[in-house]
Structures are given as C-alpha cells and as structure tokens.
Symmetry: C2
Subunit: 413 residues, 2 copies
C-alpha cells in the first residue's frame, strides 16, 4: 500500500476555530491497523440537531442502516467512527456489532443509544469486533485528552494519505458562526457517495428539518460531483450536526427555511462540502493530477452532468491525463458514449485555455505544444461545449495511474 | 506501447476453410505504423449480401456514417479497412477522406462506390490521408498476393497483441457451410460496441433482411457482452457478408426467417461472434486474467445484465482480480451500486466453485486459501445469485493492470 502523501495534498492546514458543544477524542482500538488511531468519539452538547445523507447502494452497511433508523429523532449526543472495518455485508453479526457499539458509546457518553451515530470504513465482509471498543471508549468519553480536528480526521482514514479538514465562518446577527468539517475517502469514490465519510459541525442552532434541507440541497454540487473510480461504497455517510451553543451568545435559532439566514448557511455548507469533496479527489488513490470537468451548452443540466461524469469516469481519459497526453479524441469518445444529446459537428473542447477541437474537428489553430503544456500542470480543466442549449455541470476527478492499480491490487493483504 | 503477446492469447490458430467469393489482400500504406501492414482489402463476389451493426456513440466516425448510409442497398462488393487512424471527429475532411477511399477501392475492384464498405481504427481527431491508399489499393485488387485470414486480421490491428480469427461449420442440405470471421480490439471496449471491428463471411446465400436479423439478434450475447474498460468507441463496426457462392453447390438461398435453417445459422453466427468477442477480451490492454461474470436470480435478464456489467466494469473488482485478491466485498459493492433490485441478505457470491458469501454475509465455511487458489487461475468465473427471480446474464471482462495504464498513458506518442 502506498504511504507517500499525495502530491496534491494541501500545502497547509487551516486554523480550525472551536465549535462549542463538540469535543473529540481518538484511540487505538486495534480493529485492523497497528500503531495508529482507528476510532473517533465525538461528544455533542445536549440539544444538538442532526441531518444526514447516505449511500444509495442496495447493499448498505450496518452502521448506515443504524443511522437511517435513528435519524428520524433529529437529535444527537454522540458520534463514533472506526476505520479498518466497514461492518458491511456482515449480516446478523453486523447488526449485533452496531448494537454493541451504540451501547458502549451511549454508556460512556451518558445518553440514549439512539442518540449515538455510527460510521465504519474499511474492509467489507469481515465481522467487526465491536467488543474491542469496550476498553477504549469508556476512557475517551472523559475527554482527558481531547483531540484536535486534524487528529479526529486522522483516526478515520483508510487509504487516505492525509487528513481532511475545512472550515468556513459566516456572520450572523453581528456574531460569527463557524462550520467545521472533516472527511475521509480516497478510493471507491463516485457520485451518489463513496467510501466517503464526512462529518460537519456548527454551533448554530438549526432545527433538524432545516438542517436536513440544507444538507440535502448542497450534496449534489459537492460530494455527488466527485469521482475517483466510479465505484460507490456501501458505507457513504455525511452527517451535519448543529449543537445550538451559539444561542447562548445571542444567535437566534434557525427554525424555518424562510429565515433570511438560510441562504447564507446554505452557501457556507456548500463551500465546506465542496472543499472537503475536492480534498478527497486530491487524495484519490494514486492521483497525480486534479481534474475539473466543465460541460456547457448541453440540453439540460442533468444531461451535462451525465456527460461530465462520462468524461470523468472514462479510464481512457484518466490514463491519458496520467500520461500528460493531450488526447482530446478520448474526450470525444466519452461525450459520444454518454448517450445524451450531442452533435459531433457542434462540439468544442478545451484543455485549460487551449481550444483543441471545434465544429466537429481538430481546431485549425491546434498546437500540440500548447495543449501538452496544459497537461503538465497539476490542476487541469477539461472543458466541453456541446453547442446545443444552456445545460451545464462541473465535476471533479483525478487521473488513473499505475499506483491506483498497485494500491487496489493488494489492499486486503 | 506493450508489444509482448497477451498471455491469454489462444495457443493455436484454427484451420480456416476457404469461403468462396471472398479474397483478401493487405498492404503497407504507412498511415501511422511503419514496417507492418495497415490496410486490408476484401474482394467480394457479385451478389454478396451484407448486414451490419454499429456503435451507438453520438460521435460516430466518418466510415461508420458511410456504412450506415450505403447499408440500405443490402449488397457489397468490397471492404477496405485501415488501422492507425480512426477517421473520427475529422469533420468535412473526414467525409472527403471516406469519399476518396471509396473511390479508390471501387475503381480497383470494378464496382460502384456504394458497394464498398469502409472501416478505420486508430487515433481519433487526426485527418486520415486517404490519398496514401491510391498507390497501394490498385495493386491489391489484382490479388496477386492473396492474404490469409490471419494476415487479414493482422492488418487491422492497433494495440492488439495477436490477430483474431475464428471459424464455424454447419451442415446444410448435406453440404457444409462455413462461416469465418476476423476481429480486432483491445481497448476502448464496452457493450454497445467498442474500438472493435469484426468482419464475418459465409458463402451461404442469405437475403440481406434475414442476414441483418441474424446479426442483430446475436450481437447482445457476444460483442455487446464484453467490456475491457467501459469505454465505447466512435468506430465500432460488425459486418456480416454472405457471398451466395454455395448456391452453385446446391445449397438453396435462405430468404425467410421462417426457413428451418435460420436457427442453425443463428447459432453458428452466435458462436462465431462469441468466440471473437472473447478473443478481444483475452487481448484486453494489459490483461492477465480472463473473467466471466455470471449473474443469476435477478429480477429480470436486463437487471442481471446491468449488475453483471457493474461488476465487470468496476475498477476495484478489476484491480483485485489483477492482484489475485479474493476481495468479494468489492463484488458486493458493485452489486450495490448498480441501482437494480437487490437484497443484501439474499445475496450469494462464488469465485469459481468456491462460495465466499451467502445470506448477506461471509460464507460460514469460507476458506481464504480456497478462494485465493481460484484467483490464481488464468480464467476466473465470478458468480452472483441475487435470490430474487429468474433473470440471468453473462458478460466477459479482464483484469485492470498497471500495463493497461502504461499502454493508455502513452498511446499517441
């Protein structure tokens, strides 16, 4: 397994503000990895509301089922996440492991079992030995050694090469409201979620229904717009927690979608999610290039999105990017295979600012040197204009390298 | 570019019977490759009927457009195929190149332009210099040096590591009828065709409408059931020619789908196409393993097919196969992401004859050693039973290796 940090990793980490009502602790439960933390406990203040989006997989993991079940309550007091084992496709054993995990965490946190959200990431099909949490979680809840946001992000990593954190601050009633987030994910990443976990926290007071509407509304433009390998995990989970602690500071609760602060919150949550989503792509297994695919001039936004994903998921496009090869013919191929309205003779394609194809053929001013120079960049924009309508979409992906194959050809052993 | 022959290549070539009314010649036109043949001319007897299936790409190549246009006539006198340049996304230049190609070939063969079928495979977007055919084709048509079936298959190769030929003989009215075929393709291979060309020939007399029905009916179970990388080419073409020469031997023409010989012919064409399709997968770029994915117990055949393709196209499944890793959790993931009806707790999975998962969890008798032994084989069957209904499907794919990335990261240069 590759251990080097992705060359696309952020060069520095943001200063993460405190979010009142959220405290982390991490530990080594020895689920799979040795010599590193693999379990995260978050203690959440009383009155914390919660919203979630989950994998659309028909084979969702036991913790995903658990979260879906308890989500209707709309409140949360704790979050426990482990890495190393996904507790997916584990049948009755998986349900028991989830029950035991919730029991252990709720006892330690002094709350009800159905106020503890759970997530697991790692190998599919191996029973999770939840009893391993027993010893470590009781100690964690005392928060004698609270963990930083980066440490929290570190504990939930699998093949990630760096922890992913992000923060956004907005102004509300002359007060600052911060939103912090952590995420993990590097492979099995595709729209409709991925082996991707992300947990977002704010101290604003937001009712559960408003919180859910905000989260659901911002998912398509962020986590559902990234793809590393078109594969979708059984375990994808994004949870957004609002502790409400800011109410004490005089920030009134947001309880209706008509509240004028909702658009501000939506934008902030969207920014935070897009930031974390892009960090996941930048840590795509074996990635050496970050690619933004822009599609414009499509019949509709949905059509543009299908075409953008067809380009972003094409192994031939992705290997060409890896080889720094300005092989725009493969972009044509990917547009063609998407099955969406397209007119070959109206198609134009750019790599960066260099137009390589127009009106259904190679650009008359095509310069191999200029196109190749773009491909040597670390961040590459592939832009397609279909010339048909107003539909547009933007998705992010990475290249497909030999390292991806190496990492995934030997993951379990 | 890799030059070693695929380890999955057939160990021997079949004896190809003569098909009366078909003669090949090949030449070096110097389109892209040096020191190898890159153009194939087939001369077809008067009265030859033809049927075809083509890519569903919205950006189909100029030769595909040409073939579609002249197909309505139902007769053919010649076929010219070049490798090295796909003449796709070449705009007006592409149309002119096709016109010039047909002109050159028809002049040489002494037939009408619209009786010459054309196919091109290779790089997309570069104008095809059809004038290069001028000198070589005139000589070819004299058939002074007729080419063998293997030589014909050789001339149309791109990243293929071996020529693909197959033959089937059936009995008709106490006479033998043979069907021979050639094919090319190694990458950009996916259902609904691929950079896949295949040309099939028989000396039976079969009316064009019957021929088309037979060809169309057998495509789904053969060429549309293979995938190397989920990418679909702009140029996919399968043509089936019937010269009718067997009529002279007393084999009456087949002119109706009610003819009792039609099922025999269908089976023979199906066998031939499946054989060639599997040869393409066995020459999948970088392939070291041949994988048959069988899905049973699905809601419908269509649903089974979608699930089978989801497994066969999953980069994570394909890299696990490359790593000889019995990672059945990724098969669960691929079933889950397909979006088709599936019940996690009824799912069973086999690698070869080894059942690895049943009733939604790891098989109680699971043996890593037994599962790993299967993965070390060259040919691997991945079988999934959904336990829901009677729908089933079977598709073929190969593993995803570092060599695939190497071949495709540097194809144009």
């Amino acid at each position: 397994m590759s251990t080097a940090i992705s060359p696309l990793a952020p060069k520095s980490y943001p200063e993460m503000p405190e979010i009142e009502g959220v405290a982390f602790a991490t530990a080594e439960a020895g689920i799979k990895y040795k010599g590193r933390t693999d379990v995260l406990l978050a203690k959440l203040a009383e009155g914390t509301t919660v919203a979630g989006v989950f994998t659309k997989s028909k084979c969702s993991s036991a913790p995903v089922d658990w979260c879906r079940d308890i989500m209707s309550k709309g409140t949360a007091r704790g979050l426990m996440v482990n890495s190393g084992n996904a507790n997916a496709f584990t049948g009755k054993k998986g349900k028991s492991a989830v029950k035991l995990s919730a029991e252990i965490a709720s006892k330690a946190l002094g709350c009800a079992e159905n106020e503890v959200f759970l997530a697991s990431t790692g190998v599919i099909g191996e029973p999770l030995q939840a009893e391993k949490f027993e010893g470590v979680i009781a100690g964690l809840a005392a928060l004698e050694r609270p963990a930083s946001w980066q440490e929290a992000a570190q504990a939930i990593m699998t093949t990630d090469t760096y922890p992913k954190v992000a923060t956004v601050t907005v102004e509300f009633d002359d007060q600052s409201i911060s939103l912090n987030g952590i995420a993990k994910g590097a492979g099995m990443i595709a729209p409709d979620m991925a082996t991707m976990l992300s947990f977002l926290f704010t101290d604003a007071a937001i009712s559960a229904d408003v919180l859910q509407a905000i989260l659901s509304g911002e998912t398509d433009g962020s986590f559902n717009s990234i793809t590393v390998d078109s594969d979708t995990s059984t375990s994808d989970t994004v949870l957004l927690f609002a502790t409400g602690a800011a109410e004490k500071r005089g920030v009134a609760a947001v309880t209706s979608l008509e509240d004028p602060r909702v658009p501000v919150l939506k934008a902030a949550v969207g920014d935070l999610m897009q930031n974390l989503a892009q960090q996941i792509v930048r840590d795509g297994e074996g990635a050496r290039k970050f690619v933004e695919v822009q599609v414009a001039g499509a019949d509709s936004n949905a059509s543009a999105r299908t075409i953008a994903l067809s380009i972003a998921n094409s192994p031939l496009v992705k290997t060409a990017v890896a080889g720094e090869d300005a092989n725009w013919g493969r972009v044509v191929m990917a547009v063609g295979k998407a099955g969406e309205p397209a007119d070959r003779d109206k198609l134009a394609i750019w790599f960066g600012d260099v137009r390589v194809a127009v009106d259904g053929e190679r650009d008359p001013d095509y310069s191999e040197a200029a196109a190749s120079a773009v491909m040597q960049e670390e961040d590459i924009v592939i832009r397609v204009d279909l010339g048909l309508g107003d539909g547009s979409a933007r998705v992010w992906t990475c290249d497909l390298t030999k390292e991806y194959v190496a990492i995934n050809g030997d993951y379990r052993s």
